[in-house]
């Protein structure tokens, strides 16, 4: 685990090593988090880089009341939403969220990062019943909507819904153990 407190102190003193460690630890996860709002990898990478640049510039005046993770997530979310507004691509965004998941606010303070869970997700998927895994992977890897999955698997849309729910339920149950 990162000693975030010491890294922040190092950052405030202009320690490039600390900055590098923080960058390596959070960059990928933040870009992926930004993807939730703005499905454009290059745009998300630009946003996250400018957030880190700002973090470096304002390091001496930095006051983070919550955690650095929350601070960064909030920054990414706000920047992405700003970017969406600027590009006036709200329409596209809605199309995207419609096929993936309901668009709503996330609990940033308790957010679990991609890299925290990724390796466990694969493990849980392996021990999951085939039917659930199949539906889940089609949704995840190919970005198919429930209707499309139902067609592909020759089952009803309702069945897909149930299988997906079961898969997520199992993931949640097992991942909770890892997260404790």
């Amino acid at each position: 685990m990162l000693d975030e407190h010491n890294l922040l102190i190092g950052l405030k003193q202009g320690n490039e090593e600390a900055f590098s460690l923080l960058f390596k630890a959070y960059y990928k996860d933040l870009v992926l988090f930004g993807g939730w709002y703005l499905p454009d990898r290059v745009a998300c990478e630009d946003i996250v880089q400018s957030i880190f640049l700002k973090l470096w510039d304002e390091r001496s005046a930095l006051t983070i009341t919550s955690s650095l993770k929350s601070y960064l997530l909030k920054s990414v979310r706000n920047a992405c939403l700003d970017e969406i507004r600027h590009q006036n691509i709200i329409q596209e965004h809605e199309d995207y969220t419609a096929h993936s998941m309901i668009y709503r606010e996330v609990d940033i303070d308790h957010y679990i990062l991609y890299s925290d869970l990724q390796k466990y997700v694969e493990k849980v998927l392996k021990i999951m019943p085939e039917a659930y895994r199949e539906a889940f992977l089609l949704s995840r890897n190919e970005g198919l909507k429930y209707r499309e999955i139902a067609e592909k698997l020759q089952v009803s849309e309702r069945t897909v819904e149930v299988r997906m729910s079961k898969a997520l339920e199992l993931l949640r149950k097992y991942l909770k153990e890892f997260l404790v």
Binding site: V48, R104, D107
Partner: protein
């Protein structure tokens, strides 16, 4: 859509997000991104440094002439001008006596047509004043900080003492009369000599001649009390005194008059009264000239012709 009852929680949204990334996580090149951001930081630091160096160079460009100018002003500074800043100048016009209290507590009486320059605050080691004209000094005793009077052709050094100095810059003669204490006087370029009480020394800047005589000192500084005391003094001297006291110009129509000796004491008498007394007691006659105006519209000094009868 997913079963909302079960899944519409922060936890599930979080889980969904993680398991359904918008783009392939392996497409994200962290190292490349870090290199990019480091380059950005360095380039910006470089510009900041460049801006700093630019200002530094500009400052250097500005500071060199500034130093040269300062050095020039310092080296060529006008000494008198420098001193002017902290100095006080008291002028007593012809016909008027003035009394000055100096910062060290010394008292100075200025006769007509006299100018005294002194610092607002004496520097330690030397209480230096400049005199042009006639003045009577009562100097506060301070052996550590001698009191120095500088005139056109003399430097007088005293610690605590009373003396009278006649040193009008437009007159050849400079004289010092010792009343009490002890002073050292240096005329012109000569070394300083001590003066004792009751002596009067005169120096003629044109001839370089120096005389020393015993005298009744009060006669020489009685002017400060409004008295004019003449004891076998030449009429030339008497007329000088009158000129000084009453701001007039007395013209001797017969040069031999100036050597006639005269004896009198005047106290708070007007010029008219003194002239009347002189005409009564000496074979002379005064004639007031008509006062003429200068081009500026001011009246010139009253001129009085003196004839031998």
């Amino acid at each position: 859509m997913i079963n909302t009852e079960l899944h519409d929680t922060d936890e599930f949204i979080n889980l969904w997000q993680i398991t359904h990334p918008a783009f392939n996580p392996s497409d994200i090149d962290v190292e490349k991104a870090e290199a990019t951001i480091r380059k950005k930081i360095r380039r910006r630091d470089y510009f900041i440094m460049k801006a700093f160096l630019y200002w530094q160079r500009l400052a250097a460009v500005l500071i060199i002439p500034l130093i040269v100018l300062s050095a020039y002003l310092y080296l060529t500074r006008d000494v008198a001008e420098c001193q002017e800043t902290g100095y006080q100048v008291i002028k007593s016009p012809y016909g008027i006596f003035s009394q000055v209290n100096l910062p060290d507590g010394s008292n100075v009486w200025l006769n007509g047509g006299t100018e005294l320059k002194y610092p607002m605050k004496f520097t330690p080691g030397k209480r230096l004043v400049y005199l042009n004209g006639e003045a009577y000094f009562e100097v506060t005793s301070d052996t550590k900080n001698p009191f120095v009077v500088q005139t056109n052709q003399m430097e007088l050094t005293a610690t605590g003492t009373k003396f009278n100095i006649e040193a009008y810059a437009d007159k050849a003669q400079t004289a010092v009369t010792m009343v009490s204490g002890k002073v050292d006087v240096a005329f012109g370029q000569s070394p300083s000599i001590p003066l004792s009480v009751g002596t009067r020394t005169c120096y003629n800047g044109q001839t370089g001649q120096q005389t020393l005589e015993q005298t009744n000192p009060y006669k020489w500084y009685a002017w400060k009390d409004g008295l004019m005391i003449f004891r076998d003094d030449s009429l030339g001297y008497v007329f000088n005194r009158l000129e000084q006291t009453f701001n007039v110009k007395i013209i001797l129509k017969d040069p031999t008059l100036s050597n006639d000796l005269y004896r009198a004491t005047f106290e708070d008498e007007s010029l008219d009264e003194i002239i009347r007394l002189l005409e009564m007691t000496a074979p002379i006659k005064f004639v007031f000239q008509k006062r003429s105006k200068t081009i500026d519209g001011y009246y010139e000094k009253q001129k009085i012709d003196v004839y031998r009868i």
